[in-house]
């Protein structure tokens, strides 16, 4: 799975997710990537794209849950994203997510050995990481 969250010069946020799903899937199985609110969500506060064991992200409505925690509980983005990943882990799922808010704060929690990930700042500084 790949994903991207972005904040433009007008303050607009967007999120996208694209995937090949899981190896050996049967019966037209669909994971969280195309399901708005599960593997992908954006509003005027935050944008989220997820990667991982899709069924858990669907059941926890993971991407929307991050947005809801920010909107309703006024949680900082990093805290909200970590709580959702922790909930997924507690249920037995794994994976991670990237999240960006309207002020340019980013969170990239995951509970696997690694997640291919990267960020770029307003002044063009690139950071890329793979492992924990």
């Amino acid at each position: 799975t790949v994903g991207c969250v972005a904040l433009d010069q007008q303050g607009g946020l967007a999120a996208g997710t694209s995937t090949g799903g899981m190896t050996n899937k049967k019966y037209g199985r669909v994971g969280d990537a195309p399901i708005i609110g599960a593997g992908n969500y954006a509003n005027d506060q935050v944008a989220i794209s997820c990667t991982g064991w899709g069924e858990y992200y669907i059941r926890t409505v993971a991407a929307y849950d991050v947005a809801a925690k920010v909107a309703y509980a006024n949680l900082p983005l990093a805290k909200a994203a970590q709580l959702v990943i922790d909930k997924i882990a507690a249920l037995g799922g794994d994976g991670g997510m990237i999240a960006l808010d309207k002020d340019g704060r980013v969170a990239m929690p995951f509970n696997t050995a690694g997640m291919y990930r990267g960020t770029i700042t307003a002044d063009g500084k690139v950071e890329v990481a793979i492992y924990k």
Partner: protein
């Protein structure tokens, strides 16, 4: 720091001891290329939607990631892809699922969002819609990559060995290999 763009290329059992230096460099190069393409779009006044599409297309075109070219295989040996996109400003959203011939599924998701009254389209219908909107379609063979094919064969081989499993339970047997797909 004020971040304007973040990307991921999947999560899973990614261990440094299993990664060659050249492969690691290739991943870093593709991730950097994706970030720079998204950033270039933002710097030229593009919307966050445009930047998301630009960044994701780079990763879909790379055989390294499980999306577009490099997508994993389903049980039938087909590449079956999904994508979605959402505009935070308007709450507009678009998605496609179970597509086999759309070169960049994220562009089809954007077309669903911007050029239809719907949010999600699946399978042949999604491909027909994408074609009608000028989205690039390719032969399914475009998505074939040897590492993904070999991964499927390995799992099918293991499934064959797992004779104690009921036939319908075999899909759940993929659970123990779940990390092989990297998200």
């Amino acid at each position: 720091k004020r971040y304007v763009l973040a990307i991921h290329g999947g999560a899973g059992t990614i261990l440094k001891k299993n990664m060659s230096d050249s492969l690691e460099r290739a991943y870093v190069a593709e991730l950097t290329k994706s970030l720079r393409e998204g950033y270039r779009t933002l710097q030229s006044g593009g919307t966050s939607i445009d930047a998301v599409v630009a960044a994701i297309q780079i990763m879909e075109d790379s055989p390294l990631f499980n999306a577009g070219k490099g997508a994993v295989f389903n049980h039938k040996g087909e590449n079956e892809m999904d994508a979605s996109i959402m505009d935070g400003k308007t709450l507009a959203a678009g998605a496609v699922a179970g597509v086999h011939t759309i070169r960049n599924p994220i562009t089809a998701a954007k077309a669903v969002m911007e050029q239809s009254e719907h949010v999600m389209m699946v399978g042949e219908g999604a491909e027909e819609f994408a074609h009608s909107k000028g989205i690039v379609l390719v032969e399914p063979s475009y998505f074939w990559t040897k590492p993904r094919w070999d991964a499927l064969q390995k799992i099918l081989e293991r499934d064959k060995d797992a004779t104690a499993l009921d036939h319908d339970d075999k899909q759940s047997n993929t659970k123990k290999y779940i990390d092989e797909k990297f998200g």
